[in-house]
């Protein structure tokens, strides 16, 4: 996996703050970008809540604006997701699919997956145990879009 970080890294730990992301000293959430095959991987870490959801939203906006619609949200580092985070995932699902891609959610800890599962998100999103499996979905010729 090419873990080279490119483009924006959205976190208060940034050494070079971006101009359009408000940096919050108390934020415990970060997004970093990498590429794995055809997939654009957003690695999420920390708590995705009503306060930090705009950072995730900005990351997804940046991905689509850059023409990267084959998106894997690597949730291995997520410790919490609130409804605000769920709303961001939902907001970008159809825009990604409309561009010939998808928003696949990978490697979620069980306790975080529970929140998605309580509301039935697995009916509309693809979830995979690993980032590699999520990325492989995009490498398949004419990868099928959508979970249902």
């Amino acid at each position: 996996m090419d873990r080279r970080t490119y483009g924006l890294r959205l976190s208060h730990t940034l050494t070079k703050p971006t101009s359009h992301i408000k940096l919050e000293p108390m934020s415990s959430f970060s997004v970093s970008f990498s590429r794995l095959g055809a997939a654009h991987v957003l690695s999420l870490a920390g708590d995705l809540d009503a306060h930090t959801a705009p950072e995730f939203e900005a990351a997804l906006e940046a991905s689509l604006a850059a023409g990267d619609a084959r998106i894997v949200a690597d949730g291995a580092g997520l410790s919490y997701v609130s409804s605000a985070g769920l709303g961001v995932f939902m907001a970008f699902l159809e825009p990604a699919r409309a561009r010939g891609g998808d928003l696949v959610i990978a490697a979620l800890p069980e306790r975080v997956f529970e929140t998605f599962d309580l509301l039935g998100f697995p009916e509309v999103f693809r979830f995979t145990p690993t980032v590699a499996e999520a990325a492989a979905l995009f490498d398949a010729p004419g990868h099928a879009e959508g979970a249902s």
Partner: protein
Amino acid sequence: MSRAADRLGQLRLAGHTGELARLRRAVAAWAEASRLGEAAARRLVQAVDEAAANAIEHGLADRTRARIVAEARRTADGLTVSLRYRGPRFDPTAPPALSPAEALRARAVHGYGLLLIGRLVADVGYDYARGVNEVRLTAR
């Protein structure tokens, strides 16, 4: 046992989302002190976070000066966390506009918080008096 003896703690929050992480940590500590199980504690933490986020984003009368008071009380069979804040009536026990299935079909971006709260805790209570909302979330 007196009400004072039942009280585990109280936290006053400013009316902005940057306070939510502090609230979650406090609820987790209250849950641990009341020996709530791990899963029930995690769900209570999320339910309180969702209710407080709703209050901050939709319910507070004046977000610049508003305060939310969170208070935990040990009950006979669990732990109740209440949130009190001044603002327009905002009843989390009212039927949601959409069911989860309808929200998913509509690809709704908002409204999942209220849908979650009812699924996360054993009881959700609500009172509104003299301009103050009180939401009570009980885990067992």
